[in-house]
């Protein structure tokens, strides 16, 4: 579903000059060096960000004789095979976390995108207060948010469990999605939407075929942030979980003493799954663009 914008870009790209831009011959060496530097730099940062995960992968092969897993003792693969499901609640906690994170991301992305679009495109009364509310929601310390939610739910006598965790996660992720989407919406050229409307599109069609594709990277980024925030949250979740266990809750206490190797294995598997998803996505889009 190409927009007017993208087809124009494609038209410009088609001339047979080398690369996507018309470049001066004299510029070429300098630009390439700069690009290579940036490329290398990006990979360095990716590696830096993944260092702790490497530690985790390494320690999943550790063989501590007791429960502490902070010093390297010896190599073993037993935690990858026979001993993997020694902790039944760990697997369940992991599943809980993933389910809650997916649901939370879905709902937060929808609600947050709506707010982000409204703030970016329209002027309306209450805009300032909404901004204030969004920033306040990010700035509240987790302990106070968690404790106040706990009191609220206790007063309303709602019981604690999946629903309360989900409510809390959506609450604190909303602002992040809204702010990121708004940043994207602010970069939109309103004349394109005007053009679509001039061509007879209704506002819903305009949104669906013009606006939405243009802000999609913002929505995706917001969704990723919401997912990370949810799957990783400890403080607020611990207050609102009742006796449901999520992955961060399970490992919080023991992580300071070194995760049992099984938990490292699970973490590695999540990471590997993510890598595979990212890799296939890259291959698919590379093939599609050829």
């Amino acid at each position: 579903m190409t927009t007017i914008d993208e087809s124009l870009s494609e038209a410009l790209e088609r001339p047979p000059s080398a690369g996507r831009r018309r470049v001066d011959a004299g510029d070429r060496p300098r630009r390439r060096v700069g690009d290579v530097l940036l490329h290398t730099y990006t990979w360095i940062v990716i590696v830096w960000l993944s260092l702790p995960v490497v530690v985790m992968i390494v320690f999943s092969f550790n063989n501590p004789h007791g429960r502490y897993n902070t010093t390297w003792v010896g190599f073993t693969t037993k935690f990858w095979s026979t001993e993997l499901f020694a902790f039944q609640d760990l697997t369940r906690a992991l599943l809980n976390s993933i389910v809650i994170a997916v649901l939370s991301t879905l709902i937060t992305t929808i609600l947050g995108t709506m707010i982000g679009i409204a703030l970016g495109k329209y002027r309306f009364r209450g805009q300032g207060s909404l901004n204030l509310l969004l920033f306040a929601a990010i700035s509240a310390p987790e302990i106070v948010m968690g404790a106040s939610l706990l009191s609220l739910f206790a007063t309303l006598n709602t019981g604690f469990g999946y629903v309360t965790i989900l409510i809390a996660h959506i609450m604190f992720s909303l602002s992040f999605v809204a702010i990121v989407v708004r940043a994207r919406v602010l970069t939109l050229d309103p004349s394109i939407e005007d053009a679509a409307r001039d061509l007879g599109a209704t506002s819903w069609t305009t949104f669906r075929r013009v606006t939405f594709p243009m802000i999609f990277p913002g929505i995706l980024s917001g969704a990723l942030l919401a997912f990370v925030l949810s799957i990783d949250d400890y403080v607020v979740t611990s207050f609102t979980a009742g006796n449901v266990t999520t992955f961060p809750l399970w490992i919080y206490g023991v992580s300071k003493l070194g995760l049992p190797p099984q938990a490292d294995v699970m973490g590695t598997m999540i990471f590997a799954a993510g890598l595979i998803i990212a890799g296939t996505n890259a291959l698919v889009s590379a093939r599609r663009s050829r």
Partner: protein, 415 residues
């Protein structure tokens, strides 16, 4: 039956002013704000300690029967992950047990359960383990614990060491039964600390500049400083606390302290970031067992702290009868031995020592060595002379005392 007569209430209902939309919204808004402001009230108990009268026990347990399931909340590393003891319990009684290691810190746990227990709601657990500290006392004063029915705790009566029946924080075990006890002493790495430390003064040694670990719990460091000054913590006063705080501040200013840690001091001790540290007895044991390190533990000459993690039943437990049976179950010497073999902390059942020795005799190889180590360890079965050196935390008679204590010791760890 005249149909001219309309019921007055019906008539009133028919002619009353209908709530317009605006009024409903306004009422909802006011209601919500009022609910919010009311909800923010943290209700306590106007009176102090509830009575320990026998009729309280009878009143609580009247008519309660065992259920089919028990939810047990505990600290991490307090039971073998395969839960062999719980499986035996299920075989014996038919009740299933869900075991969750969700308690990481008494203060955090208390903050979580307080609003629910204060509102008389279930916290989702029938049995939990809390340390004898400020939060324990507060729970007692707030009536959060169910009083135990000792007529049913036969194993406990028979097998618990006498010392654990008269601990100062819960004399006669009205609410709690010990799960495990531990000693706070000094742990050190002989690789870096050449002369074995003997007391608190070693924590001031400038030779260990930047390599001393202290705990961040104010009750732990408060106790240590007081014992270093020869003060008995259980009977200390505010002036004593000031002196202790001064000791700690001097220590901090001298630059020997690297940081004030939670339980993660042990990983820093193991990898050499810290050479000597306030430590818990079982941690040293476990670290050595896990990684083959050679860390050592010593009870300071001035004294050490004895703390107890206790099983308690929340007042809103769904299956308190089952929970109590479970408590009693853990006082069977064979079960207590099985726990001690894993936990490596002090067990309240002295008879477990014989069981562990027997297990050691029957085992072979690495297991044999490990079990023998446990059976003979003074950290799991301290001697009378060891006990003589140990003190409890200071019990606060009023919350104001607690606040005062915190105000004095907090600046040492949070500035």
């Amino acid at each position: 039956m005249s149909d001219q007569h309309i019921d007055p209430t019906l008539l009133r209902g028919l002619v009353n002013r209908r709530l317009g939309r605006r009024n409903v919204l306004r009422a909802a808004g006011i209601g919500a704000t009022a609910a919010g402001l009311a909800a923010c009230g943290v209700k306590g108990k106007a009176t102090g300690k509830p009575t320990q009268a026998p009729d309280q026990v009878a009143k609580f347990w009247a008519g309660k029967v065992a259920g089919t399931h028990i939810d047990f909340a505990n600290w991490p590393l307090y039971m073998d992950p395969k839960h062999p003891e719980l499986k035996k319990f299920t075989e014996q009684t038919g009740m299933s047990v869900t075991y969750k290691e969700v308690i990481n810190d008494d203060a955090e746990w208390f903050a979580k359960i307080r609003p629910q227990l204060a509102a008389h709601q279930s916290i989702g657990y029938d049995l939990m383990v809390m340390t004898d500290g400020v939060e324990f006392q507060e729970c007692v004063e707030l009536g959060f614990y169910a009083p135990l029915d000792h007529s049913k705790l036969t194993n406990f009566a028979a097998n618990a060491a006498p010392k654990y029946k008269v601990e100062s924080f819960d004399k006669n075990n009205v609410y709690s039964a010990p799960w495990a006890s531990g000693i706070t002493g000094i742990g050190y790495n002989p690789k870096y600390v050449k002369t074995p430390p003997t007391g608190m003064h070693d924590l001031l040694n400038p030779a260990y500049r930047g390599k001393v670990g202290m705990m961040s719990d104010t009750q732990e460091i408060g106790n240590f400083a007081m014992m270093a000054l020869g003060i008995t913590p259980e009977t200390s006063t505010a002036t004593d606390w000031q002196k202790a705080a001064q000791w700690l501040t001097d220590q901090r200013n001298s630059g020997v302290v690297r940081s004030y840690y939670d339980q993660d001091y042990i990983s820093h001790l193991a990898n050499g970031d810290v050479w000597i540290s306030m430590s818990w007895s079982g941690d040293i044991f476990q670290q050595n067992a896990s990684s083959g390190s050679n860390l050592k533990f010593v009870i300071p000459s001035e004294g050490g702290t004895l703390w107890t993690d206790n099983m308690v039943i929340p007042i809103t437990a769904a299956n308190p009868v089952g929970a109590m049976q479970l408590i009693d179950f853990f006082y069977d010497p064979a079960i207590a031995a099985s726990l001690a073999e894993y936990i490596n902390y002090i067990t309240p059942v002295p008879a477990a020592q014989a069981v562990i020795s027997a297990d050691a005799a029957a085992a072979s190889g690495d297991d044999k060595a490990a079990l023998e180590m446990v059976a003979s360890s003074a950290l799991v079965f301290p001697s009378a002379s060891d006990y003589a050196k140990l003190h409890y935390y200071r019990n606060f008679k009023t919350p104001a005392e607690h606040q005062q204590y915190q105000a004095i010791f907090n600046p040492i760890v949070t500035s």
